[in-house]
């Protein structure tokens, strides 16, 4: 095996902060190399350094034995390094083919060459673009990801960087992606896969490098290092390396896609119904009926999960419940109060907390501080003579930051500067603090979060249910739902199927069948 990419003493400083320091890593041709680490550990920075997005402050990179210091992503690409970003970089209003032609050179897009190249990629890696004339905006997430990878493979790179590619994919799509990675590696190229999901790492990686706090915490061949050891390296604490993953906290394990289901909540006393929805119907302007008579009951003290392949109406359901979207038909009640058309403020007053799916747009204001984000809905508490008592506001926020272990310099830090996990802690802290909280709706609450944060978020949701709050969790991670919920509904074509008792031994199979639409 020859070293394709070699990093020595690589570091990146932003002002006084070391985002990355003294990183050494060797990627061999023909392998899949995983870069592991919690959010904020420096994974994306490392990826961007190699991909030419940013320049290192210290250290050296060599590619095939010659010095490599890309000044731009295009520069990196010309040296044979392609990158697939965490957030999609396709133009949604254009077709797949147009998007793929964008990366070409010259004035006239060369459709013939593209077609030939796509055939080659399909033969070599089993990656087929189904409909090149479909608009990207109409494609499901998994298909978009595929286009993204095809786009990266078009110029025939030696090294493909994938930054958190599985965060938005469901089980089958992840399987397909893993197959692709293996095919690319088998062709003599190398794949660098950045992730925090150990479950995937153990399936696909040949070698792994674990980053923690901006530096290499450990690395090795997967044949020599156990997954349990990798996890303790990632978290920086001894999770019982000897016993391996079986004795991990089941919730944390579910967060990294590891352990099998284990009921972690004793059957709690289920109280009266706190929230009901009946016959919810939402039709999009394009005529697509995304919700088709969905209904559910949320009972005090119970955690209800909604599983399902994305795009089966879960997103719209949460938006209807939170008041961001008005249904065409159907009713929503909190207790006895009808809230189908009530504004969010009224719902909050009735005791509804919501952790929205789209954190950056719906849950927080990135350019405002942690303190402001925590108390924006409750500023009356900090008003005196019409003025805001900044001191009191910051003090209250500092308390929350401590209580929820938010990693941030202080209450005035802008939300934008926090890692995803810490942002989510702030959002959750705010929603759990809603006065007279009765119902908590959390949509994809652990998406894109690191292991530690996943564990914390799930623990908080569990505690909320123990306090007698009705909790609804929408997630595409079935393992997580099985570990957390009491009963699970499955979103399928705008309806909610089930419920499945999460403690039943056949729950996983039942959910799988419902998701695939093979029963019901």
């Amino acid at each position: 095996m020859t070293a394709l990419l070699d990093l020595t003493g690589l570091g990146k400083r932003y002002g006084t902060v070391d985002a990355l320091h003294d990183v050494g890593m060797t990627v061999a041709a023909g392998t899949v190399h995983c870069v592991l680490g919690e959010n904020g550990a420096g994974k994306s920075t490392l990826c961007n350094l190699v991909g030419g997005g940013i320049r290192p402050s210290t250290g050296e990179m060599t590619l095939r034995g010659t010095a490599y210091s890309p000044g731009s992503p295009a520069d990196a690409l010309s040296r044979g390094v392609a990158m697939v970003h965490q957030h999609f970089s396709l133009v949604p209003t254009m077709t797949v083919r147009e998007n793929l032609l964008l990366s070409g050179r010259g004035l006239r897009p060369d459709v013939q060459t593209l077609r030939a190249r796509l055939d080659r990629i399909a033969d070599e890696f089993g990656l087929r673009v189904d409909d090149a004339r479909a608009r990207v905006a109409e494609l499901p997430v998994g298909a978009r990801q595929k286009v993204e990878i095809v786009k990266a493979l078009l110029p025939d790179p030696d090294l493909v960087l994938l930054d958190e590619p599985t965060a938005v994919l469901d089980g089958a799509e992840i399987d397909a992606l893993i197959g692709t990675c293996q095919a690319v590696a088998a062709s003599g190229r190398a794949v660098v896969l950045v992730t925090h999901k150990l479950g995937e790492v153990s399936r696909v990686a040949d070698t792994a490098t674990v980053l923690r706090d901006g530096t290499v915490a450990g690395s090795g061949r997967l044949s020599e290092v156990s997954v349990g050891q990798l996890l303790s390296l990632m978290l920086g604490r001894d999770t019982d390396a000897a016993g391996g993953p079986t004795v991990l906290d089941p919730v944390a394990a579910a967060g990294v896609g590891l352990a099998a289901r284990r009921p972690i909540r004793d059957r709690v006393e289920v109280g009266p119904t706190a929230m009901t929805a009946r016959g919810l119907t939402v039709t999009r302007p394009d005529g697509n009926r995304v919700l088709d008579g969905a209904g559910l009951d949320l009972r005090a003290g119970e955690i209800t999960g909604i599983a399902g392949v994305e795009g089966n109406g879960q997103t719209e359901l949460v938006r209807v419940l939170s008041g961001a979207l008005r249904p065409d038909a159907g009713e929503v009640h909190i207790g006895d109060h009808p809230i189908t058309t009530a504004p969010p403020a009224r719902r909050t007053a009735l005791g509804l907390g919501v952790v929205p799916e789209d954190r950056h747009h719906e849950a927080m204001v990135g350019d405002m501080s942690i303190a402001e984000n925590l108390y924006l809905a409750d500023l009356g508490r900090f008003r005196r003579h019409g003025f805001l008592r900044r001191g009191a506001l910051d003090q209250a926020a500092a308390g929350v930051i401590r209580e929820f272990a938010v990693r941030a310099p202080g209450p005035r830090t802008p939300m934008r500067a926090l890692s995803g996990g810490n942002q989510q802690k702030v959002v959750l802290a705010r929603e759990l603090a809603v006065d007279g909280l009765k119902v908590l709706v959390a949509a994809q609450p652990t998406r894109g979060l690191d292991v530690g944060a996943v564990g914390q978020v799930l623990t908080r949701l569990r505690e909320a249910a123990d306090r007698g709050i009705a909790v609804l969790v929408v997630s595409s991670e079935v393992a997580e739902l099985l570990a957390l919920c009491d009963r699970i509904l499955v979103g399928y074509r705008g309806r909610l199927l089930g419920p499945v008792d999460a403690t039943a031994p056949t729950a996983a199979a039942e959910i799988g069948a419902l998701m695939a639409g093979t029963t019901a």
Binding site: Q86, F88, G323, A345, T348, A363
Partner: protein, 372 residues
């Protein structure tokens, strides 16, 4: 002061604005030289017109006051994510209302009654005029950039009609030489002088500074300011957190109109105390420019307004004394804008280069169901 502080000071909006002005004035001098005026003469004429006489200073201050008011309103709406291009029209609406009230009041009305009545009428008119666009934006989603811009032309036409039509505000026509303008306002509605000798400066500048400070305090230290900022940055999150999106948008844009309307009222209440076509002299647009250039800093807003105010009156003198076309000053003004905008862009790209590439995010879709 270490280098970081120095750099921060160098990138403060006020410093950038000042630098841009210096460069632009140098270019202006070259232009003046091309027009045949020796640099010495041009500089002398310009400074004479800007700060040479108490009269010039007073004129400049009055102009700066109007610019500040319009700009303060612009910033208020801008922070809430709305762009008010309708300053000129709102100014006209304010002027018309001020003239209507100021010429109808009985002659002996004391200042304590007449002046507040005139300014209040002007503010209300500006608020209502902007309210048309604001309501369309808030509850119908119509782009406020388009509506406020177009309403300018409607307001200018209404102004023209008002001062030409004897049954409206035109002064009694006594001869063929009667100008198409309103009768003068009653003495009580005249804006008091600042009390400087031989200076036309009025208390308008005090009103304007108070307004600028008020807007600054609103955003820095009040819950309302925070809600407006949240709405501007992330409308969906603001809606989620209980900000009544539509109503807040309506009030923010209408209030911006109120500020411009008040500015129009102050213009009419300043000598020669009449409403005439063209009384707004483009202050509505210049005020918008001031608001944009200040980039959120209220200090910079005051500074830029003063600079533009002084430049305008300096330019008039430049034409009178040195024979340089006043358009040279317009060119200088445009250069200032380009330079400040350019430096802002430069600073932003430098910052971006010094930071990891921000994650690409799709823009927020329009709010559905947030109309209330």
């Amino acid at each position: 002061m270490n280098t970081t502080d120095l750099r921060r000071a160098a990138f403060h909006p006020a410093t950038v604005a000042a630098g841009a002005v210096v460069v632009a004035v140098l270019v202006g001098l070259v232009l003046a030289a091309l027009a045949g005026a020796a640099p010495g003469t041009a500089v002398a004429a310009l400074t004479e017109g800007m700060v040479g006489t108490p009269y010039a200073i007073g004129k400049s201050l009055n102009a700066a006051a109007v610019l500040m008011l319009v700009a303060a309103g612009f910033v208020l709406a801008y922070r809430a994510g709305l762009v008010n291009v309708g300053g000129e029209g709102q100014l006209c609406a304010g002027g018309i209302a001020a003239a209507a009230v100021g010429t109808t009041l009985p002659d002996g009305t004391p200042t304590a009654v007449a002046l507040p009545a005139v300014v209040l009428a002007a503010t209300t008119a500006g608020f209502a005029w902007a309210g048309i666009a604001a309501a369309l934006r808030a509850w119908r989603g119509t782009s406020e950039i388009i509506t406020t811009l177009l309403l300018n032309f409607v307001a200018l036409a209404v102004l023209s009609l008002t001062v030409h039509e004897p049954s409206l505000l035109r002064q009694p026509v006594t001869s063929s030489e009667t100008l198409p303008q309103s009768a003068p306002l009653v003495a009580g509605a005249h804006l008091p002088s600042l009390g400087l000798s031989r200076s036309p400066a009025t208390i308008a500048i005090l009103v304007a500074v108070a307004a600028v400070v008020a807007v600054g305090v609103l955003f820095r230290a009040t819950p309302t300011g925070l809600r407006l900022t949240a709405l501007g940055h992330a409308p969906e999150a603001a809606a989620r957190l209980g900000v009544p999106v539509a109503r807040t948008r309506f009030l923010a844009l209408s209030s911006a109109g109120g500020f411009s309307g008040a500015a129009g009222g102050l213009l009419v209440a300043t000598a020669p105390f009449v409403l005439a076509e063209g009384f707004s002299s483009g202050f509505g647009f210049s005020g918008l420019v001031v608001g944009l250039l200040a980039r959120g800093s209220m200090t910079a807003l005051g500074a830029v307004a003063l600079l533009l105010g002084f430049l305008v009156s300096g330019g008039i003198n430049l034409q009178l004394v040195a024979g340089v076309p006043a358009t040279a000053v317009s060119i200088v003004e445009s250069l200032i804008i380009l330079l400040i905008a350019g430096s802002a862009w430069w600073a932003a790209t430098r910052r971006a280069a010094a930071r990891p590439a921000p994650a690409a995010e799709t823009s927020a879709p329009e709010l559905i169901g947030a109309t209330r």
